[in-house]
């Protein structure tokens, strides 16, 4: 292996380690973090479930938007003040609506969202089955299997097999 090749490999390894270590850090800056690592971990967990309302498809944990940073700090304030994770999420829902949750809640207005895929799968399976049935004309598989040998054919086959064993024993 050449020196250049080695160097490239080392660089790739270093890069992948950096990426692997850096990803879970999100957009949280050191000055935002809580001193207690347990509380900080809870804050991270809550932040990952909250939508950045400016960027819309990022969590506030991953977003660099200024409002996302302020929301992260508010989440930490509430956790430090003794709120449970659910209370912090509810605090944001009270202000921004269910929209702020990245995982939609399970309730009457979201049933279509939760059950939709399963219903479509069932419909597709039903349609597939109906199509299959119409192709085979609704006849069970056994009846289309070729019939067994008649007595006459059986006798002929036996004779042929006997012939075969006779010739093989002779030689």
């Amino acid at each position: 292996m050449s020196m250049n090749r080695l160097r490239t490999l080392a660089a790739a390894a270093a890069l992948s380690v950096t990426v692997a270590v850096a990803l879970p850090a999100g957009a949280v800056l050191p000055d935002e973090m809580l001193d207690d690592p347990k509380l900080e971990e809870r804050a991270r967990e809550v932040s990952r479930n909250l939508r950045c309302v400016v960027c819309q498809n990022e969590s506030i944990d991953a977003s660099n938007a200024e409002l996302a940073r302020d929301m992260r700090l508010i989440v930490r304030d509430r956790i430090a003040a003794g709120d449970t994770n659910e209370e912090v999420l509810q605090f944001m829902v009270d202000r921004y609506g269910d929209y702020v949750l990245l995982e939609p809640p399970f309730k009457a207005s979201t049933y279509a969202l939760w059950f939709g895929p399963a219903i479509f799968l069932l419909l597709a399976a039903g349609a597939g089955y109906a199509y299959y049935r119409s192709r085979t004309g609704g006849v069970p598989a056994e009846t289309v299997r070729p019939a067994g040998l008649s007595a006459e054919e059986r006798a002929r086959l036996d004779a042929l097999l006997r012939d075969d064993t006779d010739t093989s024993s002779k030689s």
Partner: protein
Amino acid sequence: MSETNTQTADAPQQEPKGSGWGKRLVFIAPTLVFLVLIGFFVKQLGENPAELPSVLIDRPVPEFALEPLPGRGKPLTSESLKGDVSLVNIFGSWCVACQVEHPFLMQIKESGFVPIHGIDWREKDPRDGMRWLQKYGDPYDHVGLDPDSKVAVDFGVTGAPETFVVDKQGVIRYKHIGPVNAEVWEKTLKPLIEKLRTS
């Protein structure tokens, strides 16, 4: 080929029963799904997906007390929103769209129709907002500084400018996202303020 032929020939009387409905369903079901989807799309056409419905409508404004702009006095607190119908405007000296809406807010102030209160949001320097108002004019009655979005989040703010209509009891009645202009004013804000005044 020949295999399928013999099968259908074997059970000709079962054909219409088994596949009659199935065949019709194959055409009806996708058409229905398609129509439902079209319905959703048409409904979505006129909507701006960036505009979130405010869950705060018809709820009292949260309790808060903001710091005044340096040298200006008259800080904004939740108490200053009670007693008269008022507008609460989220702005910042960094916000370009706020500059666009600003001359119209000045017009409203000059007409004396309704008091406008300001939330000076996310200024890097607390003096920036004051300088901005000195440069372009000050349409506000009470103004408070909200550097870390504490009150902005209480109002469910997603960007500036946003304008809230607050009734006499301090209950949020309407939220307008984006600059206020003559059209929004004549069609929505003014009639709503008049209605809230008489009720």
